[in-house]
Symmetry: D2
Subunit: 395 residues, 4 copies
């Protein structure tokens, strides 16, 4: 297993704040192509330092960190909107790599996983649909019908992050409408240039974005793929999705903590440099101090909660940790929103501009309380598990 | 005084939802030029129906509504991001009209106010500065120095809404640095094509916008204007700004209530049309019902509070209502943020797209708790007034 | 109709803070008998000044104020836990008077209403049951069975405020279990000394209280009353209860605003008199200022909302104002809890003692979000009314 | 070091819920003497099972648990208001034991510590003063003046928990008013029967309580103690108080988590047993589920945060963990208040009675956000530490 040495954390923080600064700036100013080119350059350095693919085992060419050590790295990377991309552990690729590592055939691995790990191509994940609630993944409209050796896909997906420019998508589609609820869907590996597949970037929070910084609507109309496009077993789509979501959610939490730390550090920088009058600073204001204190408290609570969950997950696996993952997902997303809100308020008008990443995160991470399951659904899941302990013997 | 007939409210709501629909859609999709052209067309109809300039007296060509009646209209217009523009009561023009009506010379009125009222030109207001806190309007860097008959402006302003394409700016600048705190600044009428004045649209919440949907940074470098550019008396800038801000804040509150009503109505539409399972709707969820109930409660409280303040303001004037205006500003901006947050959550991923105005408002109205005085400053102002009643006789 | 003269408000505030001070102090220290005796004395003065029964029409011996004027008085009285009692407009007597005025026969009025109005006796209301949710008033266990000319009551009620020492109770009981849901129950006038009726004061927030400052559990076991005990018509219990609850709720809101004003004024007094260091006061702390500012804002919003509702109620009646009454009930109870919480925090340890009424209100008014319908039920009622506008045509 | 075996947790939970049930019930009903007698009985069983003094080293007759293991025990004990008392780890005795263990002379240990550990006597701690803010422990009015071999104490303390019936108090008093701020005060061991010392139980949240369930005001008037009454060194009072408060705060946090768990379990019991209609339970309500889910999330976050802090404290000591202790103190007290609030709301009117410990905790644990430092002071402490990292080089 890879090792996170004591000095790595400091080194990564420095790398993110210095080597990625220009890429971050271009990104915040909407110069996405330039940002991507700069990230591509930075990746060279990441590889050289042995940081590439921190979450992936060494035999697959990664750094091979434990989940707990990865949380340290993910937090540092989360301090910049381009951090994860530089280390190649960004969603949705990271989740797709895990799926492929676990469920792909050797041929599929060679064709899809190898270039993905190498960073030669990007991928996307197409599950959520505009017409059906994402919180009910057993109820989908997109269908894959077997015709001879082939599968024919029809339907619409959206919020396929990074579909724009990706080489392939992992697509979830219903293969047996009459089957038991959790056995209806299957996953397919679909190259983006497959005829019958179209995509258009959505305007999300007012922006269409580009490449990995975009979310697409993907439609399938008589889109034909071969029998070898099936990922894993038929009917296992739901189970595999669950398998993918657990780690995905905890990865988001780790990244959000990084965002929070950056926001807190921006708040402090602003507070100690912004004069309110010739003799009084923002940092002298009791209300501002209160926000900074509360943010530090909430962030540290979030980190302790996520680390404990990571430890349990590493020992007992994702399924046994399902409820805890729901819990940290809701908790950290809430902290994230509150900390960002305070940071924007500390900056005032400047907080709405592209001078800092705050405006971007404030608007684009509003999705954190929605994607991978909205707060209210996770709370209900947790409540039902809790209530089940008391309702025994109930008719 | 103009009259709001019973049927007007209904008619305006219909107009906003139908006649302005295409403009709103273009606006939400970022097709600003198209949106502006459609608004321009709609203005013809507005004039024909006698709705033009609802807040302006009949002798100046407006509808001449009382503040209380205007609140009804403003709320209906607030339901669309292009509503106020269509009726020509949008910020910052509305506030500028008031300033000019009250303080401009006859010549200034002819040159600046007349075409503004007619909707032939637009204007902007340049007060906030990047380097100084907007919450301390007695402390500015922009200076106007008298040189013979002329004034020479130097300094930088930002968040000058709608500067892009405006015909002129009302600029606040220090004319007497050594004067008493509230007598240091003056206001100037500066045509946008004056040499030495430059503007660039800021990227606000990720967007540069266009025309009235933009906020600019405006710099003055040896920008020379004539002696007739002075608006009102020298040294009266702060007093005039206060004069302008009171009504400006209550107008924002009225508009925000309109936004809230639209958001609530979107929530209800979504809840009654979105299926969670084949047999269960969003509207059946207790949590969603709770958000809808709470939103209705908060919005109605906000409206009652604003109307009471409007009545007092009409009778006793803005200065006597200063504390109440601070109060509604904080209160309604808070309701606005919470209602929008709930509405986005009800929509889920769709709430982040341009299908509804929710994403736009969620990100762009984050500024509501900042512009015209951040929450914490208004709370402090109110607290000090409250505490002053108790601290008498204190050494 | 009675008149609230300009000077009355000031006079009542003075009366409450001075003439009722000793009674309040005794009350806060748990010396209830002494407190009641002092209130009884103060009532003489109240009568003399023409303030007696402010909410009751002049022909019934009251002051005869409009609901709006009463709100001013109720707010002043609410500033002390013994204020309403002194003016004889306390719950549950005030609500019972209304019920009797409207529904009692002449004989019943003579026997029950006359001494109640005169302040010679007290009364209670027995509706809520320990075994059934108060939020579902159509589902009760207490039954009244007709036997010949008489009615026989069996069942248990609780939270019958002021039952201890009351002369009679108005009891809600099921008279027709098979009837339509809203026609099952009837109301009965039951003297407290009726055999088969027993009461015991509950320990509420750790205290049993005494007399009007207590809440009892009341049990009926083969409790026989005459045919003339029926109040109003058989089967009208639910309708009459609704009739009683509307005004009851708005009266509570008015009183709560008074509590909030007192709490805010205590906060300010403390802040301007408590030294943190030899040179710094609580009032100098930005966080404390923030709480004071926010409290002033919320209280003023609450008052505007309640007054608007009172006006509508006076013109259109309680049934047409039902949704607004639910809304103010939730809103003002929330403001109450937050303001009290802040006030306690400003006082620190002293806020937990009987030095001020804050500790009493903090614990005993926790019930405000529960009695007369819990928040969540009112929110749901409002949401359903809101959603109904959108769901038309739904299957 | 003592060991917490796997089965202990379960056993302690059973003990608390069964063996302490009668004591808890008596306590909740205000029958304090009976409650104390029942606890005294239970202590025999506690000793027999080896659970006595779980936080104290084995050589001093305790169980000798690590701080982390103690957190498990403390949480189980926290589920009942009489839990800690039964295991003899209640405040303020536990903190006093630590002080005496560390700073007392052998003679003092024999006289004060030995009987305290044995459970033969109780003690109290007298630091907070009515006239001075507890948040500024360097600024006190109580003085100890040396007269020959003796010390003479004058001043007033309050909120001396459990002073009623205690054998002795540890009293903090100023011994050198002119000394450096943190060297002014000293601690004294004062037997409660010392002439010149008087105590009266405060009415806290409406109750005077009794014995360990009470808080007293303690006054000293020319109260003379011997030279051997000094605990530790002269001028070390502040330092010793800080030493005592760190562990004290984390012990409170552990206990609060126990309260939260009990409250959550009560919520679930209520929700699964309370019918709203003949066919619908509280547990079926989405809003109730939301509260249960959120409570589980917040409690688990709190526990993870406290455990992490306990680990750090055990390794690095209390001073190095000061900021974290402030953070958990604010965080867990907040969770406590919110969880209790929800639990009361789920119970409705029953939640205000003595049927459950909820009403007691709701009112009496309001102090949790005040005692041992109010929220706002801890937040400020944390903020200043945070800001200090950024302000270096500032003039």
């Amino acid at each position: 297993m890879g090792e996170l040495r004591g000095e790595d954390r400091e080194a990564i923080r420095g790398f993110v704040s210095q080597e990625l600064r220009a890429a971050e700036e271009a990104f915040l100013q909407g110069r996405y192509e330039e940002a991507l080119a700069l990230v591509e350059e930075a990746r060279e350095e990441v590889r050289r330092r042995g940081w590439w693919l921190p979450q992936i085992s060494e035999e697959h060419g990664g750094w091979g960190l434990s989940l707990e050590d990865f949380s340290t790295v993910a937090e540092e990377l989360g301090r910049s909107p381009v951090g994860h991309l530089a280390f190649h552990c960004q969603a949705p690729d990271a989740g797709n790599m895990e799926l492929l590592e676990e469920f792909a055939t050797d041929l599929q691995k060679e064709r899809f996983l190898a270039p993905l790990l190498a960073g030669e191509v990007r991928s996307c994940f197409a599950m959520t649909e505009p017409g059906r609630p994402g919180s009910n993944p057993t109820w989908m409209e997109t269908k894959a019908e077997r015709r001879g050796e082939q599968w024919v896909l029809n339907g619409r997906k959206w919020f396929s992050t990074a579909a724009d420019g990706a080489a392939f998508a992992i697509v979830m589609a219903v293969t047996n409408e009459e089957g038991p609820k959790h056995r209806r869907a299957s996953m397919f590996l679909v190259p983006m240039d497959t005829p019958g597949m179209e995509l258009e970037n959505l305007r999300v929070m007012g922006e269409r974005g580009l490449g990995p910084m975009s979310h697409a609507e993907v439609s399938f109309e008589e889109c034909v793929v071969g029998g070898d496009a099936l990922l894993g077993e038929e009917g296992q789509g739901f189970v595999m999705a669950q398998h993918r979501l657990g780690p995905g959610r905890i990865h988001h939490c780790m990244r959000w903590i990084g965002i929070c730390e950056r926001a807190l550090s921006l708040m402090c920088e602003r507070a100690t440099s912004r004069a309110l009058t010739p003799t009084r600073q923002l940092a002298d204001e009791g209300v501002i101090q209160g926000w900074i204190g509360e943010s530090r408290i909430e962030i540290d609570a979030a980190r302790a909660f996520v680390r404990e969950t990571a430890k349990k997950m590493e020992v007992q696996g994702a399924p046994a940790t399902r409820q805890e993952i729901s819990a940290i997902k809701v908790f950290v997303a809430g902290v994230l929103q509150r900390v960002l809100d305070r940071a924007v308020q500390v900056y005032g008008a400047a907080g709405l501009t592209d001078q800092t990443p705050l405006a971007y995160w404030y608007s684009h991470e509003r999705g954190a309380r929605i994607y991978d399951g909205p707060d209210e659904v996770h709370r209900r899941v947790i409540a039902r598990a809790e209530l089940a302990k008391y309702a025994e013997g109930r008719g």
